[in-house]
Each structure stands twice: as structure tokens, then as C-alpha cells.
């Protein structure tokens, strides 16, 4: 990472370096987006759909996404399944073993919020975002492989806005309604009141 960071910082300081930086950014973002190798962190039911995603029928290799068992060779961790308190340190550790830049997809309700295991249980971590920075959430119990495919494409959009100089990264609009997001009100108004 150091090499890219230095390069970016140097180009950012150089007058006129911005031109090179922009095109370099474009190349790097393109290549990163098109080659998102997955770290399959499949723990429970969603792991089956994760397997199905890279197998014959759905074949994520078409998008350049292949699962690699070794965290050192991967770009995006797909957390598929329930994370328990016993499992949490292992997931954290695997995440730390992945080289930068890395992204995280929370696949399935369990990884998003604990899902069906939210209430009454003593051993489940309620959502992988309690300890990992999640980029894309997929709902579903379990989500279909198509949903994972959509998540990969969404992640590509997010990657394409990044820059090797952190200050130059374009803001990415979150698809989720945030607190205070006007859309949140719209959704409530649409769903709540009969027209």
C-alpha cells in the first residue's frame, strides 16, 4: 500500500500532477472494480448461496469475481451467515489479514443485524458491522445469488468513486435512507398513507 500512497501523495503535491492522478485513479478504480476477488467468510446458511454464486449456474467468474480461500489474495470479504461471539475474533483476524484496499459485503440478515437471531439469544453478534466496516448490505434470509451479484455491481460503483489520495475521493450516495434523509420520510409517507 505504501507505494501507492506515496505515489498519490507525491502526485497530489506536484503542480500539474492532478492530471496524471486523475487518469491513474481511473485506471486503478477500473481494475479494482472489475477484479473483486472474494474472501468467502461463509459461516451458516448464506454460505450455500455464496457457493452457488460462484458455481455453474450463477458463475461470478463472468464479472471477474472469484473466491479465494486465502485472505491475503482477496479484495472483498463476503460475510455470509451468523457471526457468533466465538467466531467474532476469527472474522476480525481474517479481515486484518486482508491487504488494503479491502471491502466488506454483509450478506444476509444475520450478517446485517442478526436477523432471525436478534432476539433471545446469548451468543450471536447482532450484525457484522459491530466490528467491521461494511460497504454493502444485502438483505434476505438467505439472499439469492442474484442479490449478491447486485451487491458486487453496487460495490463496483462505490470503488469507482475512490481515489488513491483519500481527500480526492468522490462522495458516494448511500442507498440506505440515513437518519434525517428526506427519502426516509417519503418511504414512510408512501407506505403508510393510503392514496
Amino acid at each position: 500500500m505504501a507505494f501507492v500512497d506515496d505515489l498519490g501523495a507525491a502526485l497530489d503535491k506536484t503542480p500539474g500532477g492532478g492530471i496524471i492522478l486523475t487518469s491513474l485513479d481511473a485506471l486503478i478504480d477500473w481494475s479494482r472494480g472489475k477484479s473483486l476477488w472474494m474472501m468467502p467468510m461463509g459461516t451458516a446458511c448464506c454460505a450455500m448461496e455464496l457457493i452457488a454464486a460462484s458455481f455453474a449456474r450463477f458463475d461470478f467468474d463472468r464479472h471477474g469475481s472469484i473466491p479465494r480461500p486465502d485472505p491475503r489474495h482477496t479484495d472483498v470479504m463476503v460475510v455470509a451467515g451468523t457471526i457468533t461471539r466465538k467466531m467474532e475474533p476469527a472474522v476480525k483476524r481474517l479481515w486484518e489479514q486482508m491487504p488494503e484496499p479491502k471491502w466488506c459485503i454483509a450478506m444476509g440478515n444475520c450478517a446485517v443485524s442478526g436477523g432471525i437471531f436478534y432476539y433471545d439469544t446469548y451468543s450471536v453478534v447482532r450484525g457484522v458491522d459491530e466490528f467491521l466496516p461494511v460497504d454493502v448490505y444485502i438483505s434476505g434470509c438467505p439472499p439469492r445469488p442474484e442479490a449478491l451479484q447486485d451487491a458486487i455491481l453496487r460495490l463496483r460503483e462505490k470503488v469507482s468513486a475512490e481515489s488513491i489520495v483519500p481527500s480526492r475521493a468522490k462522495p458516494v450516495k448511500s442507498i440506505l435512507p440515513q437518519p434525517g434523509d428526506p427519502r426516509k420520510g417519503d418511504i414512510a409517507a408512501e407506505g403508510g398513507e393510503p392514496s
Binding site: 472489475k34 458455481f55 467468474d61 463472468r62 480461500p69 486465502d70 491475503r72
Partner: protein, 315 residues
């Protein structure tokens, strides 16, 4: 002058291997997809052929992790030593009759001997990672690669015996069509032993995905890992090319530029066969692999040598 020439060809060889590896990975992904009822890369370039163009910059700009407990200098240098011997061995292969990048009187010996240095590099990388599974992988690789040198060399020796020379150019010029059926067993032995030499499936025991996760390069990331992959594909290209030259007469029956094209086609066919084998067969166990080498391949290679030797006086 020779030194400069050699250096230039070395650079060309590195470039060939890098380019070949990029195309080879794409080809492998397509071939394996075809075998597995999938499509493989589709999105970048025609039939996804530029997929590796996206993968390589990504790996290049990845974080380069050196584990805390690793032997840092060795850890960083080992990938170079893995890649170097493969690139070096490429330069002695004759592409057409009378033309080899470096004409060496003991070229065949050179080709067989130099890639063996890779063993040391793999052992170094495994040791330097300070990781139990890497170490096991490295030790497995060492045992396997050293053992399979023997049947591989013996198989090539039968052709050398027929040609009466260790100079690749001489072999190519002396090559007759009936050598191919005569040394076919030798070729099969060479093919199997080469797969074991380059640690590819089904003999990918040192890096077995399902046992050792990634074996000796488990702790390498980014470009350092890519150079391991490149070395693997490089040795696949080199071994296929060499096999096409020695056992199938290079560009025979064509000559000149058409001959070179035919040589490339033969090489690609052998490479495809290597991939075909990888994506069909399960992986043997370490002890089964070794006993196969010593109890089957080596005696067979010796038998091939005896047959060739028996034919020799009648020529």
C-alpha cells in the same frame, strides 16, 4: 557481447512469460469454465480476454504485507528467485530450425537443471513466512520437485540419445517424424513429471487449496504473490514449449514463420492438456505421489531409454 545478448534475451524472456502468463490465466479460466459448465470471464474484452489486464494493476496496487515474525529480507526476495530460474531457462529453447535466442551446446541440460533452483526459492519463501502450513507446503514442494527431476530428465534423455546431442538446435534439426511414436511414452512421462515440477493440479500438493489453503505462498499478497503465479504459468509455458520442441519437432512439418506459428499451436495444445488434467483429476496424497514417481515413472522412463537404445544401432 554474449553477456549483453544474454541479458537482452533474458528481458525478452521475462516479457514473454509475463505476457504468456496473462493470456495463460485467461485461457485457464476459460478452459476450466468450459469443463465446469460455466462461462468464465466475459465482461472485459472479447470473451473476457482482457480480464487479466484488470487483475494485474489491482494486484500491483495492493498492500504489500510482510508479516511481523517473517524473515523480512528472505520473505521479500524469495518471489524473485522463484521467477528468475524459469525466465532464465526459457532462453535456450529453439523457436525454429537454426534459431534459438541463446545457442548453448548443453542447452537441454541447462533447461532441465536451471528451473530446479526454484526449489530453493520455494523453500526460502515457505520458511520465511513463519507459518506452519507454509512450511509444510515448502517441504512437500521440495520433496516433490527434486524427485520428479529424475523421470523428467530420463524421458528427455531418450530424445537426446536419438539426436546424439545436448544442443537443442541439433535436436531440432535431426528430428524425424517417427521419433514421436517411438518416444511417446517418454513424452507422457515428461508431461506428468513436468506437471509435478510446476506444482500444478493434480500435483498441487504443496499449495493444496483444501489442505494448506495456499501452501508456501499463503502469506504473500499483491504483486509478490502474482510473481509466484507468474512463475507457475511461466514454467507451464516453458515446459510445454520445450516438450513441443523435443518430442514433437517444433515447427515440423512447416518451417520459417509458419513453423513458429505451428510451434505456438502445439504449445497451446499441450498447455490446454495440462489444464484439462488439472480440472479433472483429484489430488493424490504426498506418499502416493512419491511412490508413483519412484515405482512407476522412473522405471518406465528407464524402459523407454532401453527401447531407444535398442533401436539406435539399426538406424
Amino acid at each position: 557481447m554474449t553477456l549483453l545478448w544474454g541479458f537482452l534475451w533474458g528481458v525478452a524472456s521475462v516479457a514473454t512469460i509475463a505476457g504468456g502468463a496473462i493470456l495463460g490465466v485467461w485461457w485457464e479460466r476459460k478452459v476450466s469454465a468450459r469443463i465446469q459448465m460455466r462461462y468464465g470471464p466475459q465482461q472485459i474484452g472479447p470473451y473476457g480476454s482482457l480480464q487479466m489486464i484488470a487483475d494485474v494493476p489491482k494486484l500491483l496496487f495492493k498492500e504489500d504485507i510482510v508479516p511481523d515474525l517473517a524473515d523480512k529480507a528472505v520473505f521479500k526476495l524469495a518471489p524473485l528467485f522463484v521467477f528468475g530460474p524459469v525466465a532464465t531457462s526459457m532462453v535456450v529453447i529453439p523457436f525454429a530450425a537454426g534459431w534459438a535466442p541463446v545457442d548453448m551446446s548443453v542447452g537441454i541440460l541447462f533447461f532441465l537443471a536451471v528451473p530446479s533452483i526454484e526449489v530453493i526459492a520455494i523453500l526460502l519463501s515457505a520458511w520465511a513466512s513463519h507459518n506452519t502450513l507454509s512450511t509444510i507446503g515448502g517441504l512437500r514442494a521440495t520433496a516433490q520437485m527434486i524427485s520428479y527431476e529424475i523421470p523428467r530428465s530420463l524421458a528427455v534423455l531418450s530424445v537426446v540419445l536419438l539426436a546424439g546431442s545436448l544442443r537443442p538446435l541439433d535436436v531440432l534439426s535431426a528430428w524425424q517424424w517417427w521419433w514421436a511414436p517411438l518416444t511417446f511414452v517418454g513424452f507422457v512421462i515428461y508431461f506428468i513429471a513436468s506437471i509435478a515440477e510446476m506444482n500444478r493440479g493434480p500435483f498441487d500438493i504443496p499449495e493444496a487449496d483444501s489442505e494448506l489453503v495456499a501452501g508456501y505462498f499463503a502469506d504473500y499478497s499483491g504483486m509478490r504473490w502474482a510473481s509466484f503465479m507468474m512463475a507457475e504459468y511461466g514454467s507451464m509455458i516453458a515446459a510445454s514449449l520445450f516438450g513441443a520442441v523435443v518430442f514433437f519437432g517444433g515447427g515440423w512439418p512447416l518451417s520459417g514463420a509458419a513453423g513458429v506459428v505451428l510451434l505456438v499451436i502445439k504449445t497451446v495444445l499441450i498447455m490446454t492438456a495440462v489444464m484439462w488434467v488439472k480440472w479433472t483429476f483429484p489430488r493424490p496424497r504426498q506418499d502416493q505421489l512419491m511412490s508413483f514417481c519412484w515405482k512407476v515413472l522412473t522405471p518406465l522412463a528407464l524402459l523407454q531409454l532401453v527401447i531407444v537404445g535398442a533401436v539406435l544401432p539399426w538406424l
